[in-house]
């Protein structure tokens, strides 16, 4: 019994690691560039790696560098970070419904590793998500992020231009790769994604909202509208049957 559960655990961990490889690849160019920019912004290698190690949130780490270079105060930078990263609250709420029941301390550990990318992979996985899967997924993503930030600072040069430019597509290709299988099965999925994409494009391009808020507002708006439409249709369907 104990052995069986250890076997299940190690195979779920492996599955998590495998699922995390595309994130690891996608983080490579972004983390490298972060390390490079951090160096040119005057951060030491210790500070650079420490930020990736403790914060583990790409967009806000980039933003903090540009704010530092404007001479923005530390409290403002921390507040901006909160605003940019508040979207993870929604992602963790979603994951909390999908993850297997487990000790709170385990959930509190892997919750540290909820990013746009790890969330996308875990949330689109079929069935329940286990704790070992989350640990495997996050182990790969986190290592890639931290190690490549350090390498970026150390090497102090970016990839050849062609490679840098073409690797920029990696995470988007991953999001598409995660979306398409569900898209093929369900029209609802297609409508959710298209609607959220349109909302986010409007919010971002019209500069109505800061990037973090734009994504969270577009997501919630699309998820609520589609759910409400479905509920109305279902009610109408029932009346029809009567």
């Amino acid at each position: 019994m104990g052995e069986l559960s250890i076997k299940r655990h190690s195979s779920d961990f492996k599955k998590g690691v495998q699922a995390g490889i595309s994130i690891g690849i996608g983080y490579f160019p972004i983390a490298l560039t972060f390390g490079l920019l951090a160096k040119s912004s005057g951060l030491s290698i210790v500070e650079t790696v420490l930020m990736s190690l403790l914060v583990f949130a790409g967009a806000s780490q980039y933003i903090s560098l540009s704010l530092l270079s404007y001479g923005t105060g530390i409290m403002e930078i921390i507040l901006t970070t909160l605003i940019v990263n508040i979207r993870h609250f929604l992602m963790s709420t979603t994951m909390n419904e999908k993850c297997e029941e487990d000790r709170l301390v385990n959930k509190m550990i892997y919750s540290f590793g909820i990013t746009d990318e790890t969330f996308s992979v875990a949330a689109t996985k079929e069935g329940t998500v286990t704790t070992p899967f989350m640990f495997g997924l996050i182990a790969v993503s986190y290592s890639s992020w931290v190690v490549n930030s350090g390498i970026g600072h150390l090497v102090g040069a970016s990839l050849p231009k062609t490679l840098q430019e073409s690797m920029g597509v990696a995470l988007y290709a991953m999001f598409i790769g995660l979306l398409v299988p569900s898209l093929k099965k369900s029209r609802k999925v297609a409508m959710l994604a298209v609607l959220a994409g349109v909302f986010n494009s409007i919010f971002t391009i019209e500069k109505w909202l800061a990037p973090g808020w734009a994504i969270v507002s577009a997501t919630v708006l699309s998820a609520v509208v589609i759910e409400a439409v479905e509920l109305l249709n279902r009610k109408r369907g029932i009346q029809h049957e009567k």
């Binding site: 709170l104 992979v121 073409s166 597509v169 990696a170 988007y172 979306l179």
Partner: protein, 100 residues
């Protein structure tokens, strides 16, 4: 100055961790009203849509980088390629485009 950077990093890490961790502590799971649970089930697909657009169109000042990459990824995924192949395929196609 140096101390300030470390303080800033610690502050950033705290305000980033709290929104990630809090839902696991606040909610037990499955106790939310059905409508909210339905909305939460929609969130992953809506998030993916918002993460893809408009971001992918802005990866390069030449919009075709994003369009061609998206097309390649969509094509590979539609044919049933796994995510890693999809990612590597899209990188390759965009690299080829940039060389032309």
């Amino acid at each position: 100055m140096k101390n300030n950077i470390i303080l800033m990093i610690i502050g950033m890490s705290v305000v980033t961790y709290i929104p990630r961790m809090l839902p696991f502590v606040l909610f037990k799971g499955k106790e939310l009203p059905p409508f909210i649970q339905g909305v939460l089930k929609n969130v992953p697909y809506a998030t993916l849509g918002a993460l893809i657009f408009p971001g992918i169109l802005l990866i390069h000042k030449d919009i075709w980088y994003g369009l061609i990459g998206a097309g390649a990824a969509f094509f590979a995924a539609y044919l049933g390629a796994n995510v890693i192949i999809t990612v590597l395929g899209a990188i390759l196609v965009v690299a080829l485009y940039s060389l032309i």
